[in-house]
């Protein structure tokens, strides 16, 4: 009978053991660091603690990144980041302390409306930067907010603050985790759990490059482009259409994607500053060449303390500029002539241009547009590392095999409107080997567009009546 109590106890211990091994789940998602970051010297990644007065502690790349962008539970905002965080930006015009109540009077820019019932106020410049305080009373007429508690430091008139700041970004994050993260990854690295099974792979935002844009070849993607992809999907891939999301939801997701992309690009550029001399490999070879590791670390410390902060600021400004400009009309591709009407003559002209030596579309897209040009079976070098890729064919900037489109299917990933095709030809497809043909006269581009749109309906391939030049070798058909 004495076995009874221990038998029962056994089952409890068993249960506990299960929980201990697996742990109660941690609710927090997290951003990952890119491979290039994690291949830096550990000191470059994690920073170097302070040792003496002339050897101050310095932050590493990871810390810099976390400071600027935070983690998914706690996203960070900086003023210059061209992302709509949500909420209303205001400046402090007056501070009143009476009867133990801390009140601030706020002013907004012209055209901006004061919110009806803000819940929190966050200081984004000045002494109190980063402090978020609940709003216990609010007068929408005068713009006077009663803060639930006094800030720890003293704010001044002219300080900028945000009412309910971050709302858009937070809701963007929630929506992103629900709809997007399992493919695109919680950090936008294109490496969510589902990603490895998809062909083509989901976009890794961290290069700051997006393929299907309406902006010219030097510009970044615009908000409209991202919204367009979300709304209509990318046919022929696993990026579905999210047409039924509301405009607010779309906006929030677009902003969050921009946030992730900016974070990724910022990380990339920061690491670029360090990778040459301070990657783990570089450090190793420097030590092998006879340098002292401690000296390298000291050099790194100086760099991180003195040079990097300024560089980081410059990088941030540069990025902000690029991303903001992309949304302006200046960045848009606008043909100088309206589309040439579709006609057999135009298509024939288009085919001539397609097969011409100057444009050489057939080299990649094949003589009949089947995506089987000679480039698809040639070996190419990675332009950054200068190493040959293992498999033949063309690759994109994400190092994925990315063969030229089979134009016979009638599936147009970037959209099937004439302007979309015009944009593909004029600006190329960023990140892929489709180059920009911006120097080609617009009228000629329209002829090519007309030809390309007619390819799926040709009674037989190449039936547009212009024969391929005999010298162009015909490659074996390759699946799209």
């Amino acid at each position: 009978m004495s076995l009874t109590p221990s038998l029962n106890k056994l089952s409890w211990v068993g249960l506990l053991a299960v929980f201990a091994v697996t742990g109660c789940s941690n609710n927090d998602s997290s951003f990952v660091y890119s491979e290039r970051t994690t291949s830096l010297m550990p000191e470059a990644q994690d920073g170097i603690p302070g040792e003496a007065d002339d050897a101050p502690g310095v932050l590493g790349v990871k810390q810099l990144l976390d400071d600027r962008f935070g983690n998914p539970q706690n996203l960070k905002a900086w003023l210059k980041l061209p992302v709509d965080f949500g909420g209303t930006q205001a400046s402090v015009s007056e501070i009143v302390t009476e009867n133990d109540q801390f009140k601030v009077k706020l002013a907004v820019e012209e055209g901006v409306a004061l919110p009806e019932a803000p819940k929190a106020l966050e200081f984004i410049t000045g002494e109190c930067i980063g402090e978020t305080i609940a709003v216990s009373g609010w007068d929408a007429e005068t713009g006077e907010a009663v803060l639930a508690s006094a800030p720890t430091k003293q704010p001044m008139a002219g300080d900028l603050c945000a009412l309910d700041g971050g709302g858009v970004l937070r809701s963007g994050r929630v929506l992103y985790m629900r709809h997007c993260s399992h493919c695109h990854g919680a950090s936008g690295d294109g490496h969510g759990p589902t990603a490895e099974y998809l062909n083509p792979r989901p976009r890794d935002y961290r290069h700051g490059v997006f393929k299907f844009t309406s902006t010219n070849d030097m510009s970044k993607v615009s908000r409209d482009d991202l919204a367009r992809v979300l709304r209509y999907g990318i046919p022929g891939t696993y990026m579905p259409s999210f047409l039924l999301l509301t405009d607010d939801e779309l906006h929030a997701i677009v902003e969050y994607v921009r946030f992730l992309s900016l974070r990724g690009e910022y990380e990339r550029k920061l690491v670029n500053e360090l990778a040459g001399d301070y990657s783990a490999k570089a450090a190793q070879s420097r030590v092998a060449d006879g340098e002292n590791r401690t000296e390298i670390v000291a050099e790194l410390r100086e760099f991180l303390a003195a040079d990097l902060p300024d560089t980081a600021t410059e990088l941030g400004d540069e990025l902000a500029e690029q991303w903001s400009v992309a949304n302006t009309p200046e960045a848009l591709i606008i043909p100088s002539v309206a589309r040439v009407p579709d006609s057999p003559e135009s298509r024939r002209r288009g085919r001539e241009l397609y097969l011409s030596k100057t444009l050489n579309c057939a080299d990649c897209h094949g003589v009949d547009g089947a995506g089987n040009g000679p480039q698809t079976i040639a070996f190419e070098k990675n332009p950054i590392t200068n190493e040959m890729y293992n498999e033949p064919g063309l690759h994109d900037v994400w190092d994925n095999l990315n063969q030229p489109r089979n134009l016979q299917t009638g599936i147009y990933r970037g959209g099937r409107r004439p302007i979309d095709l015009f944009g593909r030809i004029h600006a190329g497809i960023k990140g892929s080997r489709m180059p920009s043909f911006k120097n080609t006269p617009h009228e000629e581009i329209w002829h090519i567009v007309n030809y390309v749109l007619s390819i799926p309906f040709e009674s037989e391939p190449g039936a547009t009546g212009v024969a391929a030049p005999v010298s162009a070798p015909v490659a074996a058909a390759v699946a799209p």
């Binding site: 998914p72 985790m177 099974y197």
Partner: protein
């Protein structure tokens, strides 16, 4: 301590056993035993453990539906699978959860527990045989379960950490056919198919054994219409299994051959189910010529009889148990037999009711609808007969009876909801919604599983010589009943509301958003129900060591098994039994003449007793 030790000296027969009385090794006595009782218990313990595995998968499904994209307990942090996402599972992981929940429950729990555990244990005992016709085949049928379980287990990780089999237990092509069609369609699907084939082999071995044993090895006097309904049900089930299963096995092979290029380094493969020109995941277009619908016909040709395989044995056992607990004969024994036969027979011609929206010829819709409606009839007859059995009985309200009463009561719900789905126009709305899920859980859980709970307790004394604690079983019953209804009854309403099955996030759709609180209620009920099963397991394990020892016939039942020792020794009976009457002569005048309300089938008629004529059968 209860064992199945050979009761030396109580052997009634010594000549037809080649191994005689030599001491068997532990391995051949308890592990690779050919004794049907040991095999039955092996099946029982294995399937009860698999029940918990299947249940855990179901709880994960329910968690996702209650807290969509929340951090999933245990799974979310297991092996760092979803670390970056904070424990949020991926959509393909969800498809794995419901696929493996169904696969485990159907192939590794319900079918083996009914046929493998109870069929094995009871058939020789109830017909008065000393063992099955093919003891070695019987042993193999158990041991084939292990490679099958290994294949299913391996399939969880074969295709990638989060890409277990996820194409539904129905595994429709082209999703399951083309490796590129989903993360689960690669190696995971292949291993799943191997597991399926192996359980099929196991089942087939069993059914051949059962049919032969029942036909050939009945005790003298045990005519067909003196067999307990348990045996009838096992017999009919074995026939169903042997005729239907080969079709599934063939279909499984066809699917494996379609998928050959993902299994072997070859481009050659069949295209039974693959039409031409399909491009999935930007792979090369298919070269096909096949028909996806063919799989559905072949699959459901087996799987519809399969659902009766998963029901009939429980029906038979419940009849036995109800008669015993109500101390009266089964009402309408022959109609009960004929109904089971009708269910089985009709069961072969209704498979198309799973395919009403599939795009098959509408004329088939009409024929299948008619036959499906008709199959409700024998089921209804059985329900009425069970109620008739209970009527005016001297009822023992123990947990065995409660579980059997629940069987009847809940089977009514499952059967009636089937009528909606038999009607094609109505099924057009309900197909692939939660209404279907409600229906089959009521028949599989509400009916079969409660029947199994009753059977475990009822035959436990015979298996182990001890009884289970009735109080704990009653508590288990109450919690399970309440939890089960709390979980599955609202599913009827969810189906009417148009909530589709197999959705990881139904609340994405505006018209379903308001159903979240109900789903949370269902999840809580499911958790209660899930944890209540530990009561059963605990009671089972505890009683094995510390349960009150009982004699041969603690329930005062009539079957041949209750004349054997508890547990029966090698050879089962003290001497070869002779059967003198039917199995349900409770409270008969003959029994009264012996001063009891039961009379064993093996008891010779009391002296001087003359049987009255003209009983209604």
């Amino acid at each position: 301590m209860a064992t199945v030790s050979p009761a030396i000296g109580t052997h009634g027969h010594a000549d037809d056993h080649s191994h005689g009385h030599h001491e068997q090794s532990f391995l051949s006595k308890y592990v690779f035993s050919t004794d049907h009782k040991v095999i039955g218990i092996q099946f029982l313990v294995t399937t009860m453990l698999m029940l918990m595995v299947g249940g855990a998968l179901a709880l994960a499904v329910r968690w996702q539906l209650a807290f969509p994209w929340g951090s999933m307990p245990i799974v979310g942090s297991l092996f760092g699978l979803f670390q970056n996402e904070g424990g949020q599972i991926s959509p393909e992981f969800y498809t794995m959860l419901f696929t493996m929940h169904a696969s485990v429950m159907i192939f590794l729990v319900i079918i083996p527990i009914l046929a493998g555990a109870f069929g094995n244990f009871l058939i020789p005992l109830q017909i008065g045989a000393d063992d099955m016709a093919f003891p070695i085949l019987n042993m193999l049928s158990y041991w084939f379960m292990w490679p099958a379980m290994f294949c299913f287990a391996f399939s969880f990780v074969a295709g990638g950490a989060t890409a277990g089999p996820g194409n539904g237990w129905t595994s429709y092509p082209l999703l399951s056919d083309l490796a590129q069609a989903s993360p689960s369609s690669g190696n995971a699907q292949t291993w799943w198919l191997f597991g399926l084939t192996l359980v099929g082999v196991s089942s087939m071995m069993g059914s051949v054994n059962y049919m032969t044993t029942i036909i050939n090895m009945r005790a003298p006097g045990m005519t067909l219409f003196r067999m307990p309904l348990t045996i009838w049900s096992m017999f009919i089930t074995a026939i169903l299994q042997s005729f239907a299963l080969p079709v599934l096995t063939a279909a499984g092979f066809m699917l494996v051959f379609d998928r050959l290029s993902s299994l072997l380094p070859t481009d050659i493969h069949s295209v039974f189910f693959i039409p031409a020109g399909i491009v999935v995941n930007n792979a090369a277009p298919t070269v096909g010529g096949g028909q996806p619908l063919l799989w559905q016909h072949l699959f459901w040709f087996y799987s519809h009889p399969a659902v009766y395989i998963m029901l009939l044995p429980a029906m038979g056992m419940v009849s036995d148990m109800l008669a015993c607990m109500c101390r009266k004969p089964v009402f309408g024994y022959k109609p009960m037999v004929y109904s089971m036969a009708a269910i089985a027979g009709l069961g072969f011609i209704v498979w198309g009711h799973h395919m009403f929206t599939s795009g098959m010829n509408p004329a088939l819709g009409m024929t299948f609808m008619t036959s499906t409606m008709m199959i409700a009839l024998p089921s209804a007859i059985k329900v009425f007969n069970w109620i008739g059995t209970i009527w005016d009985g001297n009822i023992k309200f123990n947990a065995v009876f409660l579980n059997c009463a629940a069987f009847v009561s809940l089977f009514v719900v499952g059967g009636l909801s089937g009528i909606f789905m038999a009607a094609v126009p109505v099924d057009i709305y309900f197909h692939d919604t939660y209404f279907i899920v409600a229906h089959f859980h009521y028949v599989l859980f509400g009916a079969t599983l409660f029947g199994v709970f009753a059977a475990i307790q009822f035959w436990y004394p015979k298996m182990f010589g001890r009884e289970m604690n009735d109080g704990v079983q009653k508590l288990h019953f109450a919690l399970t009943f309440i939890g089960m209804n709390g979980t599955f009854f609202p599913m009827h309403l969810l189906g009417i509301a148009g909530m589709p099955r197999r959705y990881a996030d139904p609340y994405l759709h505006g018209y379903l958003e308001h159903l979240l609180p109900m789903n949370q209620f269902m999840t809580i009920s499911a958790i209660i129900m899930g944890f209540a099963q530990f009561l059963l397991l605990g009671n089972f394990a505890y009683s094995f060591f510390f349960g009150k020892k009982v004699g041969r016939n603690p329930w005062g039942a009539n079957g041949l098994e209750w004349s054997a020792p508890s547990p029966p020794g090698h050879g089962n009976f003290d001497e070869p039994p002779v059967c003198y009457r039917g199995p349900y002569e409770y409270s008969s005048p003959e029994a009264e003449a012996m001063g009891q309300d039961f009379i064993l089938q093996t008891s010779p008629p009391p002296a001087g007793f003359k049987k009255s004529s003209g009983h209604v059968h």
